[in-house]
């Protein structure tokens, strides 16, 4: 195996599991440390550099960071990263003085953004400070897209969304509310230098079963129904409601139904619990509100008697798995569930009737635009896609990540550079040694368990639709939860030429991460003969240059390293050092194509 190149930012970046897993690569450990120090404003601003909507995402993010969190591999549960983000947002001071501003003098380039959702707003956020004139077309009268109309206000208060959208819009975006784009050709003809399509996946999927259209007043499409609730077109629902589907939209539908008068709410899923698409915490919240989750039921027909929906018939399924792991089902029996209303929450689709098929934007066989995965450019040189509009429904944090990348492309394109000429990632790596056994971070392991979010009382939360359920962490909970973070961005950095092979680091490592051994076998074999076998293949192993005394090598399995710094404290020659890694992420306008500036 070749020695590891730790000068490549990707190696240490991957060690920071949360940051690596976050599509926008939010610097999680750094912002958690700022919270620990009570520096909420700085924490919020650090967050905002990557994810733009810390207040919104601190309540609604799908949290790809948390399953990745190293704490989950050494302890039972990961750090409550998402809800700590909310803490920074809730407790910050006024951040407006610290926000970038748009220059008075524009650069003469005009960019149109379709839809005022998270993807478009991120593009605006990145391009406005560079002097671009940005126009956002939005069919509704307020910004936010699905964040506003599809996420119920008991999960996300409107004030939080207003404030974070406002930060961007107030930089000087021209907002055209109530203006659905009906023709991309017409938009391009207005002379925009670039058009970004961030219009989401606004169409709910249909379920074509017998009886579906026999009582249309009582069968709803989930996201449309949620939007109607938002706009107050719908203010109540019948007592017995069946929700079809078990994703996060289904969770929002069932909990909203409970607040609009439903008393008996069932969420019906085709498959077993481990295949549910909904996030586990959203499922828990629904169950806490006495929503019944019914597994292994496949819709058969809707029963409409005398023009009125009275129930639904389901096939009761039994699932089995063959040797290759493929699932198959068989119908055991059928079952009738009486109900007064049905909400279909089985997914969303894209819908581009407003994009002419002859203007150079190619579509594939599934009706999706052909979009480059890296540059976000379509086959039309001036048209870019991001968010759910690009490759179908994902979640908010992905839309934000897309927005950042698309902004880089739009900037390059408008400056006449190839969009593939992307600025590279950089890093800084600085020792955190203050003195003998003194570090610029708290390296002591805190064995506390993950804090449980406090919820509004059940009786009070149904009094109004906008009573926020999650109350946020108490100060004591914050203090405990921040100390659970292992500071994975404080890297164990090894200088082979200093090592005297005394074994001190190997002996002291609490989780058997280190081995000094010969480098004679391929990686798979090497992984087996370490102090503890390195079985988690998703985690890298570090291999040093040959050591001076014996030419053996130092090997580190990154998997369960606690970043406690004991290897560095026990090292007599400072061959091991703890160093703060900071990933320098490319952003639009910042040293595009000039790596030396990014690395400076």
């Amino acid at each position: 195996m070749k020695p590891t190149d730790v000068d490549d930012p990707r190696y240490y970046h991957k060690v920071v599991d949360c940051q690596w897993a976050c599509p926008a690569h939010t610097n999680v450990p750094a912002y958690i440390r700022l919270i620990a120090q009570g520096r909420y404003t700085e924490s919020y601003l650090l967050n905002r550099q990557s994810n733009v909507f810390p207040g919104v995402l601190g309540r609604t993010c799908d949290r790809p960071c948390e399953p990745a969190c190293r704490r989950g591999r050494v302890d039972e549960k990961p750090v409550a990263i998402c809800r700590l983000k909310r803490v920074a947002s809730d407790l910050r001071d006024d951040i407006r003085p610290f926000l970038p501003t748009a220059p008075e003098e524009k650069n003469g380039k005009r960019v149109a953004l379709v839809g005022a959702g998270p993807a478009s707003l991120t593009v605006a956020n990145d391009l406005l400070p560079l002097g671009y004139s940005v126009t956002i077309f939005e069919k509704n009268t307020e910004p936010g897209g699905l964040m506003r109309i599809n996420i119920p206000s008991f999960r996300l208060p409107a004030s939080v969304l207003d404030e974070e959208c406002g930060y961007i819009i107030d930089m000087g975006a021209e907002m055209r509310y109530g203006t659905p784009v009906t023709s991309l050709k017409a938009l391009l003809d207005e002379g925009f230098d670039a058009v970004f399509v961030g219009s989401g996946a606004p169409k709910g999927k249909e379920l074509d079963i017998p009886g579906r259209h026999d009582d249309p007043a009582h069968v709803h499409i989930g996201i449309e129904w949620l939007a109607n609730v938002h706009f107050r077109h719908v203010e109540k629902i019948e007592p017995r409601v069946v929700i079809i589907g078990v994703g996060n939209t289904a969770m929002d539908c069932c909990r909203t139904a409970k607040r609009l008068g439903a008393t008996d709410v069932k969420v019906v899923a085709r498959r077993g619990r481990k295949h549910f698409k909904a996030s586990p915490w959203e499922l828990e919240d629904a169950v806490e509100e006495q929503v019944e989750i019914v597994e292994n039921r496949s819709p058969r027909r809707m029963i409409v008697e005398g023009g009125r929906l009275t129930g639904m018939e389901f096939d009761v399924l039994e699932w089995s798995e063959d040797a290759s792991g493929r699932q198959s089902s068989r119908v055991v029996r059928t079952e009738i569930v009486p109900c007064d209303a049905v909400i279909l929450a089985i997914g969303q689709e894209n819908n581009f009737p407003w994009i002419e098929r002859d203007i150079g934007v190619e579509f594939d066989a599934h009706g999706m635009p052909v979009v480059d995965r890296v540059t976000h450019r379509s086959t039309h040189p001036r048209v870019f896609f991001g968010g759910d509009a690009a490759w179908g429904p994902q979640n908010i944090i992905w839309a934000v990540a897309h927005g950042h990348q698309a902004a880089i492309s739009i900037d390059l394109a408008c400056q006449g550079r190839p969009v593939t000429d992307r600025p590279p990632e950089g890093m800084t790596l600085v020792s955190v040694k203050n003195g003998l056994h003194s570090w610029a971070y708290d390296n002591d392991f805190d064995p506390s368990a993950r804090q449980v979010m406090r919820h509004e009382e059940l009786t009070r939360r149904f009094q109004a639709l906008n009573v926020e359920v999650e109350l946020g962490f108490s100060p004591e909970q914050v203090a405990t939860e921040v100390s659970r973070c292992l500071n994975c961005d404080i890297q164990t950095h090894f200088t082979p030429k200093r090592c005297i092979e005394c074994d001190a680091c190997i002996d002291v490592c609490p989780t058997n991460c280190l081995t000094i051994t010969t480098n004679h076998s391929p990686e798979a074999e090497l992984r087996q003969r370490l102090s503890a076998p390195a079985v988690n293949l998703s985690q890298e192993i570090y291999l040093s240059e040959p050591l001076p005394q014996t030419t053996r090598v130092m090997v580190k399995d990154e998997d369960v390293c606690l970043h406690c710094g004991l290897c560095a404290e026990r090292c007599p020659t400072a061959a091991w050092d703890m160093r703060l890694f900071d990933l320098l992420k490319p952003v639009a306008g910042a040293a595009c194509g000039q790596p030396e500036l990014v690395n400076a």
Binding site: R73, C502, A504, D507, P510, Q549, C564, L566, R570
Partner: protein
């Protein structure tokens, strides 16, 4: 030293031994020795050996005197008994403890100061009595705790950190032990756990005193270019005289997996231990028999003359008789004897006295 206590988290795949204990359960408190001290590696090797031997922590006693080495009994097996005695008196205290309670496993940890200066006489007599114990000398050639003066094991010509050369001849605990009848003599290096752990296991299973001289560099005062007990010097001059491999009771004895050394190599000796386990020995030099005292003595001297440090399980006496065998003491630890047998009263004492009149 470290600023924090070792986190309680352990590797998820850490195995348990037959007692249901992990390696971590054999650890002690955090070491306060210098970072990089060889003694901490010896501690780690002891933890490994005790875990592999499935030693019951409450059936072991850790004995020590004074010095950096003698602090290390605190750093392993925190659930075991222990006695931290006066400087150099560890062998005598252990002799007493072993006489009173033969049911425990005695682990004596000492250093070149504690055993080769102030406690030299104590050590010699414990060896003569063949007290059933593991006797580890953490040997670094220097008085670390008092800022780096030469110890009795410092080689002629080796220099202190400030440059003065030592002119007094060293005491080699291995040669000394061989000359006064030790039944188990080994030398190893803290930087080579592959060698050290099997030796410690064999030593713990040996009936009688198992002397293990471990070159354990003092990273603060004796790890410099003029040192003959530094990591680098030991690595450059170490010659493994005997490869040792410990075979637990429940494993069948088979030929060692390790290939025979290229320089000829001696024959394989399988030495049965009193508890049913065995030690497999293979001398790396032809004609050297690790069960023959004269051969071992000659070999160590020859290595010394060539400037080499002979390591390995250098000598073992398969017919070892320990202190209790020699003194024909009662088979049960005194603590298990009923009071009447232990203290039979004035009449019994009179009868005993009469026999000597």
């Amino acid at each position: 030293m470290t600023s924090i206590v070792k986190p309680p988290v352990r590797h998820p795949s850490l195995r348990t031994n037959a007692l249901g204990l992990t390696l971590r359960d054999y650890e002690g408190v955090m070491s306060t020795l210098c970072a990089g001290c060889g003694h901490d590696s010896v501690t780690a090797a002891l933890v490994q050996a005790a875990w592999e031997l499935e030693l019951e922590p409450h059936r072991a006693a850790k004995m020590s005197g004074i010095g950096c080495s003698s602090k290390t009994t605190a750093y392993f097996m925190k659930q075991s008994h222990g006695f931290n005695s006066v400087h150099g008196r560890m062998p005598s205290v252990t002799t007493g403890a072993a006489a009173a309670n033969r049911g425990l496993t005695y682990i004596g940890i000492s250093g070149d100061g504690d055993s080769l200066s102030i406690g030299l006489g104590q050590m010699c007599h414990a060896i003569r009595r063949n007290v059933d114990m593991l006797y580890v000398i953490e040997n670094n050639g220097v008085y670390g705790l008092t800022k780096g003066q030469f110890s009795a094991s410092a080689d002629v010509g080796s220099t202190s950190k400030r440059g003065e050369a030592n002119e007094q001849a060293p005491i080699d605990p291995v040669l000394l032990a061989l000359s006064i009848g030790a039944t188990f003599v080994a030398r190893s290096f803290s930087g080579d756990k592959k060698q050290l752990v099997p030796i410690l296991k064999a030593g713990l299973s040996h009936k009688g005193l198992a002397l293990v001289d471990v070159i354990s560099p003092c990273v603060t005062f004796n790890d410099h270019d003029g040192s003959t007990k530094s990591y680098k010097y030991t690595r450059d001059h170490e010659v493994e005289a005997v490869e040792a491999d410990y075979v637990p009771v429940h494993l069948e004895i088979t030929l060692p997996e390790r290939a025979a050394p290229s320089d000829g190599g001696g024959e394989l000796h399988v030495v049965p231990m009193h508890d049913g386990s065995a030690v497999r020995l293979r001398a790396t030099a032809a004609g050297y028999d690790p069960t023959d005292r004269a051969s071992a003595y000659a070999h160590v001297r020859a290595c010394q003359a060539r400037g080499e440090v002979a390591t390995g399980l250098l000598f073992i006496d398969p017919a070892s008789r320990d202190m209790h065998d020699q003194l024909r003491t009662t088979a049960a630890p005194l603590v298990d004897l009923p009071f009447e047998s232990l203290c039979p009263g004035a009449a019994a004492l009179d009868a005993l006295m009469k026999r000597h009149r």
